[in-house]
Structure formats: structure tokens, C-alpha cells
């Protein structure tokens, strides 16, 4: 299964990934139109500067996801076949239990629309938009390493 990894040495904190992510999750998939949409798309990846280095943070699609266990509306589920944690917007009530339990702080509340913001690995595209957009190749889209024993 593929996951997103970040080469901290290469990340310069330009936030191009944030922009590409927001555009990729907009209705139009077009920067000039995205900002005028009714539901303005927000980045699902965030880049944080800590002690002079920059670190992107995204959902890990954990094998034993705490958010799925905590989701009281059954909106979050894990698809065993694809290894993806999926979110059903129609079932979500915006209770923020998933925000409360994510140990990576990778789920943020979008208070405007009462839905969580969380990386979906651009599931409808052949590769995540951030990977393509990163000018320094700091974002890797690779097979997961064998689990450490």
C-alpha cells in the first residue's frame, strides 16, 4: 500500500502542497475559480514550521485508526482492501471526536461546514496533487515499509 512521506531536509516550507491540495479538492479543480466557490476548499495537508525546519502533516490512514473507533456516527470507516480510511460526509454530524483522538493532529475541524479536514490521498486521481506540485520533491508517494517488529 502506498503512503505519503516527507523528506524534511528537502521541505522549504513554501506551502505549494497546501495550495495544490486545496485546488485539487475544489469543485472546479482550478485555482482561479476555486476561491469563488460556495464551499471554499481548504488544504487537507498543513505545513508547520518547528525549530527552523518545516514539516508537512497529513492523515496516516492508520492500520488501527483511533478516529474510526471513536466515530460515533459511523462516518469514518477503514477499507481493508485499499488500506484507506474513508469518510462519509452524509453520515458525519461534526462531533469532532476524530479531531480529539488523532495522535498526529492530522484532522482539523472545518467549522464553516461542520466537517473534518483530512487527507484522502486524492483518491480519485492517479497520484496525490501535493506530490506533483512539490517543487523540491520533498513529498514521496511510496509503498509503506514493512512494519517494524
Amino acid at each position: 500500500m502506498k503512503n505519503l512521506y516527507y523528506v524534511v531536509k528537502k521541505c522549504v516550507g513554501c506551502k505549494t502542497c497546501e495550495l495544490a491540495c486545496a485546488v485539487a479538492h475544489s469543485e472546479s479543480d482550478d485555482l482561479s475559480k476555486a476561491l469563488k466557490e460556495k464551499r471554499v476548499a481548504r488544504p487537507l495537508v498543513r505545513v508547520y514550521g518547528v525549530s527552523g525546519k518545516d514539516y508537512p502533516v497529513t492523515c496516516r490512514h492508520c492500520k488501527d485508526p483511533k478516529c474510526v473507533a471513536a466515530c460515533m456516527a459511523k462516518a469514518l470507516t477503514r477499507d481493508v482492501k485499499t488500506g484507506m480510511v474513508l469518510h462519509d460526509e452524509d453520515r458525519c454530524v461534526g462531533c469532532w471526536m476524530c479531531v480529539m483522538v488523532c495522535p498526529y493532529g492530522a484532522i482539523r475541524p472545518n467549522h464553516k461546514i461542520k466537517l473534518p479536514l483530512r487527507c484522502d490521498r486524492c483518491k480519485d486521481k492517479d497520484q496525490p496533487a501535493c506530490v506533483k506540485a512539490c517543487p523540491t520533491k520533498a513529498i514521496l508517494w511510496e509503498e509503506e515499509p514493512e512494519p517494524k517488529k
Binding site: 508547520y48 514550521g49 502533516v57 471513536a70 459511523k74 480529539m100 495522535p103 498526529y104 492530522a106 475541524p109
Partner: protein
């Protein structure tokens, strides 16, 4: 063939059944419930009451679930006693069911205070089951006002829901603050103000002594003598564990059924999980019942895998909850108030009254044991991880309340399994 009996068809019971089946495909698994529905999302009942969630969104598993997993589901069956010496449970209709392993996942029920007269009337409800919710909804068209007794999580959720249904809502609170089981006075007052500014009324420091009326509720009488008219009364005075079924057995109980690190009770072969279970609390350092959905799931999983022969141990639970009223998000984790604490605890906080923003962290010996977040909850998952992993936060204490406190600040310190950086 081994027969596992699970009493309770909800968060804990289902999590256990699923985790048994992951390991053991053949044992017979029987799930009993005294309700008439397949498992549903109990925490959505207040959203259902508000008219925000339809009944079709309530089910917790697809229709095919029980059959596909080969679970025998027995609905509308109330278990009245457990007989460990005979390895069997006895149902209300006097029939009995034998077991090799038993999981008690019977949850909890609303407490109806003894001192209040007239609680048996039609029009007085707790909110625990889908049936409760449906019965309340059926009365909504003929109800203009409601009194909610108690300002705990469920009481306030009901108040919020019924105000969305345009009822006039009055909440009667015995203590000085709302949500006294999860917030300190300052956070509680932010929540209360939010609810008040949206039309919900509070009567603080008062208790109901009587529900007035007869065939129909007409109001409540308070201990001050004052009467508040209403046509519906909801009792939100907390819950107590459903453990009547073991009261004549040797299963040891306190506020819940006492369990060990494998969720086994004092009697081998009998397990408990969820709202009925008392286990070690990580933040207060002694046993407690933490009657919460995610905890019912994690305890159910561990109990189930143990019943199926695995040896994963449970390190304990802790209080944690997330609520949001009229756009104000609030999260409480672990210890939330240091009033009356016998050991010395440290508090870190930021407060901006105008923005309605308040964060407080509680530390003991350099480690976090609790937090409250009002207005900005983004970092709550990181704080929870620091608490659960007992991380020494002293070296980066000054960062914890920063607005952009984020995973890179704690990466490598919390034993999380998934890798992010190379």
C-alpha cells in the same frame, strides 16, 4: 463447539463480537439485547431528536452484518441474572442460556433521582434508547416547553436539540455550573453563555422536587417553591451501570463491574466492557467507570480478543469528550479541575474572553494529566496522545499552548506506529 454469549448489542458488545470473529471463525456467538433494534449509533439520538439525523442514518452496521459474521442476535430478551456456578444466564421469561465465555456489555441507564415526586408520569423521559427518542418526538407537536433536569452532557445535548425544534427550554441545575463532570467553572460559563444567548434558560443552584400534572405534565416544582410550567420533562442526571443482573452473584462491583487488564471480572470466564465496566483510569490513578463511546469500543475489542485467546492487555481508560453547541467547540481530557487535589499540580492556561477562547492544561510531575479546550480544539489529539503516552512535557512546556502546536513538536515522543518523516 465453544459458545460465547454477549449481553448487550451496542458499542462494546459489537466491538467484542467483531474482534472475536477476526481471530475465531467457528465459535458460536450469541448476542442478546433487551431493545428491539439492531445496533445503532446511540450518541446520535440527540441529533435525531433535533431533526438533524434521520432514522435511516442511525444503524451502526449494515443489515447483512449479523448473518455475514454468523452472529446469533436475540432481540427483546432481558437477562435478569448470571449464574457463574452453572455457566448460564437466566432471561426474564425464565429460560436460560449456557455459555463457555460471557461478556457483560449491558451499558448504563439514566438515573431517576428518588427525591423527585411524579417522575413516573407520561411526559417524563430519560434519553438513552431509540425508543426514548421516538417517544419524545411523538410528543413534540403537542409540547411548547420543556424542563431539563441536570446539565450534564446528555441534558445539555437534549436542551440544544429541543431548542432547535423551537421548544422553550429551561435547564434546572443543582450545582453552580453546567457540565461539572467535564469542565471547570470558566469553561462551563462559556458554554452556558453560548446556550443562553441562543435562547436556552438556566435556573442554577436549584433542584426539582416534583413534576406537576397528572394525565399530562403541567410543570415542575423547585426546592425554592417556585413552579416552572412545561409540558415535557427530560431527566439528565447522569447514568448508572446496568449491573443488576450480577447482584446475586460473586461478580465484584463498585460503580461498575470491576475488571482486570484483560477486562475479566472477578469470576474467570466472565468479562465486562463499556459503560457497565469499571477499570483503571490513567489520569486519576484509580479505578473508575468512563461511560464513553470510544472507550466502550476499545474495551470491547480487548475483551473480545482475550475471549478468543489473544493476550493484548488494556492499560486503562480516561475521561474524554467533545461537544459543540451553536458553533462553540469544547473538548475535555482527563483531569479538568485541580480544586481539592491533594498533590501539587501545575496549570497552564490562555484565556481570551472576547474570542470565547480558553485553553487549560494540567500537569503532574512534568506530565500532562488533563486539558480543557474551548473555541480552538485543533491540538486536542496531540494533547491526548501526550497524556496517554505519559510523555515528559517539561522540555517543551512553553510550546503546548501555541496556536500552531503540531505533530512535529512531539514526533518521536509518543510511540505512534505510523511513520511520516524520512
Amino acid at each position: 463447539m465453544k459458545h460465547v454469549v454477549i449481553i448487550g448489542n451496542s458499542a462494546a458488545g459489537i466491538a467484542a463480537a467483531e474482534s472475536i470473529r477476526q481471530i475465531d471463525k467457528t465459535s458460536k456467538i450469541t448476542i442478546l439485547s433487551d431493545e428491539g433494534y439492531e445496533a445503532y449509533c446511540r450518541c446520535l439520538l440527540s441529533y435525531y431528536l433535533a431533526g438533524e439525523v434521520d432514522e435511516e442514518k442511525i444503524p451502526y452496521r449494515p443489515k447483512s452484518f449479523y448473518k455475514e459474521n454468523n452472529f446469533d442476535l436475540l432481540l427483546n430478551k432481558k437477562v435478569v441474572s448470571v449464574e457463574p456456578e452453572k455457566n448460564r444466564i437466566v432471561l426474564e421469561d425464565k429460560s436460560s442460556v449456557g455459555y463457555d465465555s460471557l461478556l457483560i456489555a449491558t451499558g448504563a441507564s439514566p438515573k431517576f433521582p428518588k427525591g423527585v415526586k411524579g417522575l413516573q408520569q407520561k411526559g417524563v423521559f430519560g434519553l438513552r434508547t431509540l425508543k426514548d427518542a421516538k417517544d419524545i418526538v411523538a410528543l413534540l407537536s403537542s409540547s411548547g416547553s420543556v424542563c431539563v433536569l441536570g446539565a450534564g452532557l446528555v441534558g445539555l445535548r437534549v436542551a440544544h436539540a429541543l431548542s432547535k425544534r423551537k421548544l422553550k427550554v429551561t435547564v434546572v441545575v443543582k450545582s453552580k455550573q453546567v457540565l461539572s463532570q467535564m469542565l471547570d467553572a470558566r469553561a462551563a460559563s462559556l458554554v452556558q453563555k453560548k446556550l443562553e444567548s441562543n435562547g436556552i434558560e438556566f435556573i442554577m443552584g436549584a433542584d426539582a422536587v416534583e413534576v406537576l400534572g397528572g394525565a399530562q405534565v403541567k410543570g415542575i416544582k423547585l426546592d425554592s417553591g417556585k413552579e416552572v410550567p412545561c409540558s415535557l420533562v427530560i431527566v439528565g442526571k447522569g447514568v448508572s451501570a446496568n449491573m443488576d443482573l450480577v447482584k446475586d452473584s460473586k461478580v465484584k462491583c463498585a460503580d461498575g463491574i470491576l475488571t482486570d487488564k484483560f477486562l475479566q471480572s472477578s469470576i474467570p470466564g466472565i468479562y465486562a466492557a463499556g459503560d457497565v465496566c469499571e477499570n483503571f483510569d490513567l489520569t486519576i490513578g484509580k479505578t473508575a467507570v468512563n461511560a464513553l463511546w470510544p472507550i466502550a469500543i476499545e474495551q470491547g475489542k480487548i475483551a473480545g480478543s482475550r475471549i478468543a485467546g489473544a493476550s493484548e492487555a488494556y492499560d486503562g481508560s480516561m475521561g474524554m469528550n467533545s461537544i459543540e453547541f451553536f458553533g462553540l467547540p469544547v473538548i475535555s481530557l482527563g483531569v479538568y479541575d485541580i480544586k481539592g487535589a491533594s498533590v501539587s499540580l501545575e496549570e497552564l492556561e490562555t484565556f481570551d474572553e472576547n474570542k470565547g477562547m480558553y485553553k487549560k492544561l494540567i500537569l503532574k510531575d512534568g506530565k500532562m494529566i488533563g486539558a480543557i479546550m474551548v473555541g480552538d480544539i485543533r491540538a486536542s489529539g496531540l494533547l491526548l496522545s501526550l497524556i496517554r503516552n505519559k510523555v515528559d512535557v517539561a522540555p517543551f512546556k512553553d510550546k503546548l499552548l501555541l496556536e500552531d502546536f503540531s505533530y512535529p513538536h512531539i514526533a518521536g515522543k509518543t510511540n505512534e506506529k505510523e511513520q511520516m518523516y524520512v
